[in-house]
Symmetry: C2
Subunit: 165 residues, 2 copies
Amino acid sequence: MQAQVQLTLMSTSFPDEASRRLLRDLAHSLPMALLRTREAVVQRFREVLSRYGLTEQQWRILRALDGREGLEISLLAEECRILLPSMTGILKRMEARGLILRQASVADGRKVRVALTEEAKALVAQIKPEVVQVYVEIERILGRNKLEQLYALLEELEQGLASSA
Amino acid sequence: MQAQVQLTLMSTSFPDEASRRLLRDLAHSLPMALLRTREAVVQRFREVLSRYGLTEQQWRILRALDGREGLEISLLAEECRILLPSMTGILKRMEARGLILRQASVADGRKVRVALTEEAKALVAQIKPEVVQVYVEIERILGRNKLEQLYALLEELEQGLASSA
DNA sequence: CTGAGATAGTTAATATATTAAGTAAAAGAC
DNA sequence: GTCTTTTACTTAATATATTAACTATCTCAG
């Protein structure tokens, strides 16, 4: 079965319908499509964030912590989809800049909670409206319905891949 | 107008309908949704590619060069959505491993064309069927219609953002 | 020609991503 | 209560992303 697929793929002369469609899908390339669109979207946000000396990842962390008391690093990492080794460095830089505070847990010596400083909260409040404007533009481009549709499809695929893992 | 939005966003007590929807969209976070889905998709491909000691980026380059005589580095970079400074390092590693060849252009001393070695072509032929199987699974999860729908929405948003840049 | 720009790539510096190891504290097994 | 395993992070090593600066051509106006 696997060998069959390989064979038809390697002989490009007379591919049957099935492998022709697979090849077209391959040309589509879902990772590339997701990358290109994400790149285009993120660029808009980056234009805003870079004026404040923030990276996209730092903004994700600011957004996740905003309006909360604090969060364990692991939970924060999970929510922001940033791996722990990356978090270590990012939080170090954010702490050095005075955007976050760390406090070790008394109950569990391994856990560390991080929270926004007042300065960071003010920064988030200042940036948020500009970020909202980017969303407004995106919705203007795609329309509210299609945007919701896109969210739904992305979610469905993510969940499907996760559950069949 | 901008100040208006900011004001409603900062008073979380009684947000009106518009800002409430904007905040929900913000919680959605399109970059995060694209990231999460892409992460889930790419992980499947990475399981295959890592067995061959390839990164996702290197695979994009292999795929782009496969079946062609060669390509200028700039064009390759554009097609693979990899920035030139990154390309320099990636191509260096791929050349060291014997996957690509470089040849300076005679017509234009600045340009460099890269092409796959025979070894690389054989590697691509070997890996391709496994990659196709990942696509088969993705299509099984989402269904062909929804998958095409997803591609279309991603494309439309990307184009929209590009043209309104 | 010739000098001002534009192009193709690389180098440099900093920030993240990814995988593997390592460390310290906590939870469980016995 | 020790011993093993798990958990929460950090460190290390390598690969890539991003922005800026630099080099060697090339192009083209004058």
